[in-house]
Symmetry: C2
Subunit: 688 residues, 2 copies
């Protein structure tokens, strides 16, 4: 895979400027948006001027052997276009195609692309006043291009249109994945499907299905039915559902790679088949979170017989060339405690548990190879001597990724893309799998295949998972698709807001479940003051929330106030930006935009109180609500001081900053996301 660098010959800082200039040079329609909302940004865009108007007569047509996949995608495209514009298209777009010369939307595909990670996903899009012409070497390229067209749709006072552009686009990395952990919390088929739609919308191409965990074995097995019968609490995918998901993904140009995490992380397997464990059973499905002892016995030949039979079944069920075997976080305790295993290590000349796991992996690798599959695993599986077609997925960091590449192994980056940790989109966005300055040869660089966002599910349920994935994953998708130089954070956020709303078209619940959780907590429809608070709150970052009390388990409700909070508050971010600008410029016209929200926040406590009093589940947010009033009050005071231009009072500022430190501390497993901005206002009073 070659790294594409065709982004209009402009680099890093100039990118936003490019967008602005290109669009502003248009003979712009009066109400047209000031810039395009493409995400990921294509490799090359030229705005050519003029518009293709979308009317009821707009129809799709196809040229060449487009195949069933692009035919279906075109019908979905028209449906989404109708949904967004309210237009009643005249074409029966489900069964009919317009003749090429009568098609407003004309698609040409060179043929059906393979779903194995090697497909050419490039496309060329030419929008002229008469036609939207999409040409791609494969139907997968057509799919990617259709998403671009939908993102281009804009409106002015004459109606909806596609701006005339010339786009040449291809991905920078060929592996752009999303992992969903269905092991810890089961994610029903509809959750998976709508997230596949979300992935397709931002041109991701690999769904990494984490199917087994200490806390659940989520897949029907014909060969070993006790796995799902005893290891899942009855929350598992049937084989038919697996096929349904694979077909659904394939229709969207997305591969499905299953993960069966072994030899650790396997309590649920061993609950069903305790004889395969390295320690005597019985075992029970784990309810807590963490790293646990149960592990397969690598010294037991019947374990390999089991996996031979198991992977034979799974190799037939999953068409993808790769199977992920996990391989992470085996604490080795059961291995150390088992004298037979000690003896086995001695006999095999295996110095330590790392070597023992390497032995195990090697046996599994041979089984996979027998059934035509290649192996993927987390950093821990790396060992010299592995065949060169395996892939290392790095949760530990880029250094480990680069190190594998230097040794000749392909790799994927996930470190820095842990979306379960509720970090900012910015942080993920700037985490490049292959920065310009890394010391790798070109051949080694080609071994960095891409990356995956990982949605671990300790603290998400089917109700909240969408809100942890979206919209931040769109920023990761852009990182993996767009040229290296595309890294303007402000522009990314601007586009992310639009993308977020459009993702709702696909049934994603990332926005709407916020209010739903608040309504449930309040037991009523009107939740104004709760909403005011939740909008500027973020869940604790990293692993802090897991370390709060009460300690979360698999059975804990994830329906609290903190679960309604977005990982990254839009409103708090806008407020921080406004403070930054004000602190820098002292522009008095900005004051109202700061004062108004601060006043609203200061007053919120009183209107929130009756809701808290009616709902014991909301009691925990009383301190958060109090803190907001305190913080807003300080913000307003600081504003007054700045505006009055009185002499700096260092002691007052010092005191207020201490109060803010307290206000910032975790409350109800969440934190106020405006405190740093108010602290900045306070520091501004003393000229800092």
């Amino acid at each position: 895979m070659t790294i594409v660098r065709r982004f209009s010959a402009c680099r890093s800082g100039a990118v936003a400027a490019f967008w602005a200039v290109a669009v502003f040079s248009l003979p712009a329609a009066p109400a047209a948006s000031p810039s395009l909302n493409l995400m990921p940004v294509p490799s090359q865009v030229t705005v050519t001027g003029g518009t293709f108007r979308i009317t009821e007569a707009a129809a799709i047509g196809m040229v060449g052997d487009a195949g069933e996949r692009s035919r279906k995608a075109a019908a979905r495209f028209m449906e989404r276009l109708a949904g967004r514009t309210g237009l009643f298209f005249e074409q029966d777009f489900r069964t009919g195609l317009a003749k090429p010369d009568e098609a407003g939307f004309l698609f040409k595909s060179g043929g059906v692309g393979p779903l194995d990670g090697t497909a050419d996903e490039s496309y060329a899009l030419t929008v002229s006043p008469d036609r939207v012409l999409l040409v791609a070497p494969t139907d997968i390229g057509v799919l990617r291009g259709l998403e671009t067209v939908l993102q281009l749709v804009d409106a002015d006072d004459r109606g909806y249109f596609v701006p005339c552009v010339q786009i040449e686009d291809r991905p920078r990395f060929r592996w752009r994945g999303l992992l969903i952990d269905a092991g810890r919390h089961f994610m029903p088929v509809d959750v998976i499907k709508r997230n596949l739609d979300g992935m397709a919308a931002v041109k991701m191409n690999t769904f990494h299905w984490h199917l087994t965990e200490d806390q659940g074995f989520r897949l029907e097995s014909l060969a070993f039915p006790r796995l799902h019968a005893e290891g899942s609490d009855d929350f598992y995918y049937t084989r038919d559902q697996v096929r349904e998901v694979i077909a659904y993904a394939a229709d969207r140009g997305i591969r499905v790679m299953p993960e069966f995490d072994i030899p650790g992380h396997s309590t649920s397997w061993l609950t069903a088949y305790p004889d395969l464990a390295a320690a005597p059973g019985p075992f029970r499905i784990e309810r807590r979170w963490g790293v646990f002892d149960p592990v397969f016995n690598p010294a037991d030949e019947s374990v390999y017989d089991f996996f031979d039979c198991f992977f034979q079944e799974m190799a037939a069920l999953f068409p993808d060339p790769y199977v992920h075997i996990g391989g992470d976080e085996n604490n080795g305790r059961q291995w150390d405690a088992n004298p037979e295993i000690a003896l086995f290590k001695q006999r095999q000349g295996l110095a330590d548990n790392h070597a023992l796991q390497a032995y195990f992996n090697d046996r599994i690798l041979k089984i996979l190879a027998k059934y035509g599959k290649k192996m993927v695993g987390w950093d821990e599986i790396f060992q010299p001597g592995l065949p060169r077609d395996i892939i290392i997925q790095s949760w530990r960091g880029r250094a480990s990724l680069f190190e594998s590449a230097r040794r000749g192994y392909a790799g994927l980056l996930s470190n820095g893309y842990y979306i379960d940790l509720c970090e900012t989109a910015e942080k993920h966005y700037l985490n490049d799998p292959l920065p310009d300055d890394v010391a790798l040869s070109n051949a080694e660089r080609r071994l960095i295949l891409g990356g995956e966002a990982t949605m671990w599910s300790e603290l998400v349920s089917f109700e909240t998972v969408d809100s942890r994935i979206w919209p931040r994953t769109a920023a990761i998708a852009e990182r993996l698709w767009s040229p290296l130089e595309v890294r303007d954070v402000e522009d990314m956020y601007r586009r992310l807001d639009t993308v977020s709303v459009r993702l709702e078209e696909l049934g994603l619940l990332h926005i709407k479940n916020q209010d739903m959780i608040l309504r449930r907590l309040a037991g009523r429809v009107d939740i104004g003051p709760l909403k005011t608070l939740v909008e500027i709150v973020e869940p604790l970052k990293g692993y802090s929330r897991q370390n709060q009390t009460p300690r979360y388990t698999q059975l804990s409700p994830l329906t609290r106030f903190v679960d309604a909070a977005s990982p990254e508050s839009r409103i708090a971010r806008a407020f921080r930006r406004a403070v930054d600008r004000f602190a820098e410029t002292r522009d008095r016209t900005l004051v109202e935009a700061l004062r108004r929200p601060l006043e609203r926040w200061r007053a919120n406590k009183d209107s929130l109180r009756p809701l808290i009093q009616a709902s014991p589940a909301l009691l925990e947010i009383e301190p958060l609500s109090q803190a907001l009033t305190t913080v807003a009050d300080i913000g307003l005071l600081a504003l007054d001081v700045i505006l009055a231009g009185t002499a700096p009072d260092a002691a007052w500022a010092e005191d207020r900053l201490k109060v803010l430190e307290q206000a910032k501390k975790p409350k109800a497993h969440a934190e106020l996301a405006i405190v740093s901005a108010v602290a900045k206002l306070v520091r501004t009073t003393v000229g800092k």
Copy 2:
């Protein structure tokens, strides 16, 4: 089935009073709700005083042969309880049961109830400070009782509790159904599942799955694969999905009755198998709405061979004893035009098309009987001489239902429960299948089995269907479960608000998709002024919307402003009630509650304008927005006049009423639901 009349010996008007008195006689906890929120109202409730406090230690236990169904239901119960209260229960409620004497929630079931419409669904619930004891003759009764417990959960400043009550409950009718039309617009499995959960929450027991229509054949057939391959646009349920839905319903004590609408409404079938039609093909999946010509050929023996084979397959797939064959709206044109059919009628001595359809039905009946199924059909199937185990479902009206009963046939009422027509909950609620004064013998009365809400899907998609079903269907559920005397409309609405929010726990989208549709239309997250408008707007009632232009087809987007509007506006209703009260009492303390919303509505136009300007799809609401300003302005003027106590000005009032008439007219396929209230204010100025 016997009609139960044990509602606490109090009747109609006294019902609300009963609730109030019973609860107010409690040594009430300070913040306790003023009344219970049960829906449907149980046959007998006694509030005994005191509370069962819900703590982390609360655990479920079971006595007797409860079976897998109630075991699973109990785990779901605990999950929902945790979700609502935020409590981290100590019990591993998925795999463990507490010992009976340690179980806070103790369930006793007499055994597994049959899912054929004859199960005893009664239960007795005794809540004391120490225990919630639920006893039922069948596990289905346990399920019904668990929903009651969840509805009883309340809170005060000490936390969550169940009030101590003694409830004896059983349904008035044994058939309480919801029809979902998946033919006209396909409804994916997740839509069906979440609506099954909604049904269970309000104790409905029959899911009527309308699977075939002119516009789509929605079911995989092994025997006749062209049915789904050519008749569905690829939107169909696989046989596995059907089994999945049936199992999901069964877990919730709900039967699944399939409907295959024949001999008319069958364009999709005949698209696949044109030789079975009464006229020469080819046919195409119908996109328009209405009654169409294509019909099976009743004179063709191969049609009966086809159905024999078809129903053999379906009889094996669907375990329910009943199969619904539709039978409605055959316009007879193709029969009239076919000389072979004319000859056939002559030979068989069939006087008219009605007799011919009776012949057809009789042949189908015999096929169904051969495969062990009983027949259900719409009014049109009724004919003398049918066996007595068939059921007539009345879409035409109660008269036809009673007439069938007099002739000895069992019947279901659907007339008056057409929830697709966007009527008020009140209207459905007061539509009793068996009023006291109807002239039927006791034996005939027993033939009225119940009724079904019908969700026809011409104008709903998978995105909006929940909002047309809920919460109004809960009022129908109450009509069919609760005693005849329970008919206090105000109290019903009060409880409906609570039920509506709680239904969201089950994943239903009826509330949250309103904002989503508005966000999509506006292309942004902040939709305040759109929300202000949509909240007091209702879609056109009855069939008026279908008669608007542009004409709707199956491919039309249902993503417009009107699709975001609720069938019945909560806020408009509250405003109407407030006006009623004010007009009656002239109580000046009510004025602010009228003035505030009127002022907000009057001002809304200006804040809405930029949103409309940015979105051509919103242009159509400009007149609606203008009308709101006009109406609100008139309302405020009328208020001023009333308060000033000036002399009546009949001409002014007359003029204003004319303006209001105009304002009330359909705009954007919707209407303002506050106009009648403002007209009342105007009339009040002249003392009417």
